[in-house]
Amino acid sequence: MSYVYRSGHMLSFFLSRMLRAAITILLVMTFAFCVLRLSGDPAQILLGPDAPQDAIEAFRERWGLNDPIVVQYWAYLKSLWSLDFGVSMRDKSPALQLVLERIPTTLQLTIPALILKVGIGIPAGVYAALHRQSIADRGVIMMAVFGFTIPSFVVGLLLVLIFSVTLGWLPSGGQDTWMHGILPTLTMSIGGIGILARFSRSAMIEVLGQPYIRTASAKGMSWRDVVWKHALPNASVPIVTIVGFMIGSLIAGAVVVETIFSWPGVGRLLVVSVSNRDLAVVQCLLLVIAGTMVLANLAVDIMYGWLDPRLRSKSAAH
């Protein structure tokens, strides 16, 4: 059928996406809630192995841990409805506040890392695609494979070994000065640079082989304009998907790196809270993380329509 048009309202598109987003978040919440309660007793862990039985019992009673899980879940949903995210079992401070406090610290790492990924990965991939089979192309491919196959904890340790231990130029942990941020940022960006370089390269190569690129050249456009005005806008669709995913993991993507470099961000909070079974904090964290990812996905979907009119919901022009 040659006459199939995607049509409908932007509003219906948006609402259906929002509905899907809400369901995703609810699923994540429920899953986290169940797993946390089935994987160990918070009272035991928080109070220690030597705590007397009646103290543990009192703790359980206070946090409602003796109720059936369905009752606990219902209570949780009810409190969420009134925007109450619970309080930490450790120091009784509001969970949401604990999480929000940490977000800027994490962003101090992830935003510069994202800028590096986008600023280096995309140009490198595009350059490689424009100079296929050249030494630069081979170099980019090699670096890309290196970047995304080596796990970030290995990269992190290597960087520490070189720049902190051997050369002594940069600190290996902590958050005292901007110098402390350099190694974790680098560690985090290397994999993303590799992924983006590879994706941009293949997206660009695909687009450069399309007939409309030949058309653009055939009308006498300079190669520079062909690349900037005709190839890049088309290649940007798949690239945006990856960048969107990276934006979605701005908050959650630093768990490993924060742990290696003792960076007191969201990732550290997550690791500590999970090992302490600090239920409210973990749940709140997961909710924030899931929310940002879903939002980023939604943004990507809207971007698609903006970048590619074929994906835009639009009624037939005939």
């Binding site: 059928m1 040659s2 006459y3 199939v4 048009y5 995607r6 049509s7 409908g8 309202h9 219906s12 598109f13 609402l15 259906s16 919901s313 009624s315 037939a316 005939h318």
Partner: protein, 327 residues
């Protein structure tokens, strides 16, 4: 004469989604098409994109279910797709596609693919399959040393021969060919057309030949049905269709065939585009492009009626001119 294949008032309605909260559009891709085909006969189905000719071809084989109407094969109604009876029947009716590379599995040798239908339908033992494959390959003009080759190692014409050999493996009584030579070069196209014709004459296979290439249709078919926007607008023997077309659309279509040596001025050039099936014009669907449109064409749809022996057409103008005594 009993027909081998008969289609009665076939209708195929597609739903085209228009978003989550909008009612989907219903498109009648095939709209009350009836036709019949005798054993050993070749029926050409011609029309432009959106005419529903490929959908009709798939419906004749039961691959695309009819929304309304019925296909009767050998006196029996077509069983529903996927049932055991349908599968058994499929051995007697085969499809030849336009794009041989897409229809072949690139990981299997061509001998395996030609023998596949025999294995699937359990029609032969292992040694029989081998023998039959060799037979089929020579019948379609493939060399025996090519048996172990893979699709990408063959030329387009050779691949189409593989498809034909595979379709013939089960000794079908009906072959539906959907643009079987459109992707081939002229010199190779002639080879494949000749091959199809020879095989058909030798085995008495009935054939539905769907194509937009009127020259090939002229050469291979006994009868031609012209489709426009899901309906048959004219049907007659191929001699009559190409020498005395009656429907204005058929006339334009026949005239639009570029014939070497014929100048452009001698052709009827239709205005406008082939219409969108989702927006069928009122009255006669062809009226917006028709060079001889009458006022009644805009409001009422003409019915198919006889305009000669074995010649039917759907046009108000023909109906009028056919009744000169009354006028």
């Amino acid at each position: 004469m009993t027909a081998l294949l008969e289609a009665r008032d076939l209708v195929r309605v597609y739903e085209i989604s228009r978003g989550l909260w909008k009612k989907p559009t219903l498109v009648r891709a095939v709209d009350r098409v009836s036709l019949s085909l005798s054993a050993g006969e070749t029926l050409g189905v011609v029309g432009e994109s959106g005419s529903g000719k490929s959908t009709l071809g798939r419906m004749l084989l039961g691959i695309d279910p009819a929304t309304e109407g019925q296909v009767v094969f050998d006196g029996q109604p077509m069983p529903a797709m996927g049932t055991t009876e349908w599968r058994r029947l499929r051995a007697q009716m085969q499809l030849v596609f336009q794009d041989p590379l897409a229809a072949l599995d690139r990981r299997l040798s061509i001998a395996e693919q030609i023998g596949e239908p025999l294995v699937i339908h359990g029609l032969a033992t292992k040694s029989e399959v081998k023998e039959r494959v060799a037979e089929l390959m020579s019948a379609v003009g493939l060399r025996s040393d090519q048996a172990g080759r893979y699709p990408h190692e063959l030329s387009g014409g050779q691949r189409q021969r593989v498809i034909i050999a595979r379709a013939l493996a089960t000794e079908p009584r009906l072959l539906v060919c959907d643009e079987p030579v459109s992707a081939l070069d002229v010199s190779i196209q002639a080879q494949v057309v000749n091959l199809l014709r020879d095989l058909q004459e030798k085995h008495g296979i009935a054939m539905v030949f769907i194509s937009h290439d009127l020259k090939v249709v002229r050469n291979i078919t006994d009868r031609v049905a012209v489709m426009y926007l899901g309906r048959i607008v004219e049907e007659a023997s191929s001699d009559v269709i190409f020498t005395h077309p009656q429907h204005p659309y058929t006339r334009a279509l026949v005239s639009s065939v570029p014939v070497p040596g014929r100048k452009l001025e001698a052709r009827i050039i239709l205005q406008g585009e082939p219409p969108n099936p989702a927006r069928r014009p009122a009255g006669c669907a062809f009226h917006p492009r028709c060079p001889v449109v009458l006022p009644s064409c805009r409001t009422s749809a003409p019915k198919l009626g006889a305009v000669g022996t074995g010649h039917i057409a759907a046009c108000h103008l023909i109906a009028q001119s056919d009744a000169p005594l009354v006028a």
